[in-house]
């Protein structure tokens, strides 16, 4: 060893090594931002016209009216809750086999590819687009909503489940494999205990996502409380709309609180 001790270390490299190029890119980004902002044309007069309308909206919300349309609201919520529960249950049941198949560490390549394709297809389309499709195919009403939510639940849950399975502690799986266990036994003894708490957590989370989504897809005709909300808005009955929104918020918060409670008890 020579006497000299090194005095310099390599700092983490910058994303772009060349200094002029880096500054050019920063400058370019700034210019683009300025141009983009200036291209947004705000019609101030129209905005002024809209103010009273907005105010009526706010007033409606300050005085929600639960009674005027209570029958419609009740039916809407019944439909939405039914849609949510059935779609989440069916979605989870179908997501489990797809998720198992989409985990590279336990499934052969052909099965993996097919399952990944199903997930990609289910995730590529946003709920509203799927709902429009199903409404066109099966007509207006909660059945189309149920199908939409089931479909999107599969994509969501199967993807998270597959990733969770790919992240398991392989040593535990190896130990079960070494006993001569079959594939299903491996899944039951080594995989399930490791992924179950998270699967339940995600499932509960999906219940409140599905409930919120059921309000949105109702607007495009897939039944449920969304349809009721849409009708109220179209009739300018902001007080009824406010009542609906408040019930939605209450239910989502209830789901949130409930799932948190259940999750704490499971882990």
């Amino acid at each position: 060893m020579s006497g000299a001790i090194a005095r310099h270390w390599r700092r983490k490299p910058l994303l772009i090594a060349s200094r002029p190029l880096r500054w050019a890119l920063y400058g370019g980004a700034l210019v683009y931002l300025a141009v983009a902002v200036s291209s947004v044309h705000v019609n101030w007069l129209r905005l002024y016209d809209g103010l009273p309308r907005g105010w009526r909206f706010v007033q409606g919300f300050l005085a929600p009216n639960f009674l005027a349309r209570w029958e419609d609201i009740l039916i809407g919520f019944q439909e939405s809750l039914t849609m949510t529960v059935t779609a989440t249950a069916v979605g989870i049941l179908l997501a489990i086999p797809v998720g198992l198949g989409a985990a590279r560490n336990i499934s052969p390549l052909p099965v993996y590819l097919v399952c990944r394709f199903i997930i990609a297809a289910a995730r590529a389309l946003q709920e509203i687009i799927v709902a429009i499709l199903f409404v066109a195919m099966f007509g207006f009403g909660p059945f189309a909503g149920f199908l939409t939510l089931s479909f999107t639940t599969i994509g969501f849950l199967a993807k998270l489940l597959a990733e969770d399975i790919e992240d398991i502690d392989e040593a535990q799986a190896e130990a079960i494999r070494a006993t001569g266990a079959g594939w299903w036994q491996l899944v039951n003894y080594a995989i399930q205990p490791q992924v179950m708490p998270r699967l339940i957590g995600i499932g509960l989370y999906r219940i409140d996502i599905n409930f919120r989504e059921s309000a949105v897809i109702g607007i495009v005709g897939a039944g449920g409380i969304g349809a009721t909300l849409n009708t109220a808005m179209e009739r300018y009955e902001y007080d009824s709309a406010a009542a609906i929104l408040m019930v939605i918020i209450a239910i989502v918060m209830l789901c949130e609180y409930g799932s948190g409670h259940i999750r704490r008890r499971l882990l």
């Binding site: 494999r177 006993t179 001569g180 079959g182």
Partner: protein, 273 residues
Amino acid sequence: MLRIEGLSKRYRAGVPVLRGITLEVPAGQVVGVIGPSGAGKSTLIRCINRLVEPTTGRVSLKDIDITALSRRRLRQARRRIGMIFQEFALVERLSVMENVLSGRLGYVPFWRSFTRRFPQADIEAAFALLDRVGLSDFADQRADALSGGQRQRVGIARALEQNPDMLLVDEPTASLDPRTARQIMRLIREICEERGLLALINIHDVLLAQQFVQRIVGLRGGEIVFDGPPAGLNEAALTRIYGEEDWTAMRRAADDAPETGEERSEERMAGLI
């Protein structure tokens, strides 16, 4: 009897991990496999039950050519090969009993294992084994509630629940304190004697190996560079296995610390608490 002939393993486009290992182990013999990290010890024992597929060569146990078996037959062969792991590899969220009973998975159909309705004989065997490893009160605890030494005892019970002909043991003491490590090695040794089990034990601790095994195989760079009784492990042999180092101090420690009967019973008592 275990027979390994010309066993080689090369991972995709890499240097070979094992090069032509040939080894014969008679029934009932306990063999310690030592060697530096990366010498291929883990790969060697995983090639025996084909958790890792060997590239070439043959492995046969009791005249069954394991390397030639179909998936289905391989699972049947695995039932008779118990395995014990470095980090215990218990399924942490299952109970101790479920972990021990998982040793029977190769013998029972899926629905029985799924509903946890194992045959009564298996359950009795599991309780007897838990008693043997000193954990009879822990049957219903979750595996992650146990200490390291206790977990390894469950690991041993799980391997024995398979009613194996041989044990593959991968660094059983690497995550344990020295005293627990000795207790575990002694337990493995005693159980092998009781049941006449052949065992292959990968182990880093040379002193521990010398005390508890009958034969030592030294691995370096995927080849066997030493094969003989523990007493034959002299400086030249250690240097051949691990490379140049001053071994005198370590060898003196080995000579100074013979096992005494008193120490044994004392440690065993402590182990049961």
